[in-house]
């Protein structure tokens, strides 16, 4: 009962976080702001996927969250390298 309430509150918070990150992603004055927003969006997506896995009782979703986390990190590293040097791999 209490667990379900806490899960619902956390789901709402993570969804609101995704929306706020999307706002920064569309708005961001600099390209780096968009990179940061994408990084945070990936984090929030990981939290959202794990929460949905708990809610639906499907532990298979946790591996999906791991993949999203790795892809988000790779994207952040590649994009900030590109913005620093104009090149990802020398």
């Amino acid at each position: 009962m209490m667990l379900n309430l806490a899960l619902n509150i956390a789901l709402g918070a993570a969804s609101l976080g995704v929306l706020l990150c999307t706002w920064r992603l569309l708005r961001g004055p600099d390209e780096l702001d968009r990179v940061l927003a994408l990084d945070t969006l990936a984090m929030n997506a990981v939290a959202l996927i794990v929460l949905l896995g708990l809610r639906w009782g499907t532990p298979l979703l946790f591996e999906a969250a791991l993949i999203v986390a790795m892809l988000g990190f790779a994207a952040t590293v590649a994009l900030s390298r590109y913005l620093t040097r104009g090149d990802v791999v020398e």
Binding site: V18, D30, N44, M70
Partner: protein, 113 residues
Amino acid sequence: MNTVLETLAALTLLLAAFFLLVGAIGLVRLPDFYMRLHAPTKASTLGVGGVLVASLLLGLAQGRPGMAELLITLFVFLTAPVSASLMAQAALHRALPSRAGPPAEPVTGLSPD
């Protein structure tokens, strides 16, 4: 035992929800990039960590091993500082405007080209 674990998981989830919200609101509301870098890299990392700890506790209550959660927690806590540092380097390289003004002495050693 199970009720204790579930109560603990519920409390951790509430804490994680708070920190996720703080990170996202900070990303939207703070005035310049260097300040905005702080909110998601610290608060959101703690929020994701809290969600994963709650998931581990629930797995313990249901008697299933939580290898994936443990891996995600380790990965997130290892990579968040790295990506934050890379983004800060890129911001200094691009000389993004800061409310605190330019750095007192020129930053060296960031761009080897």
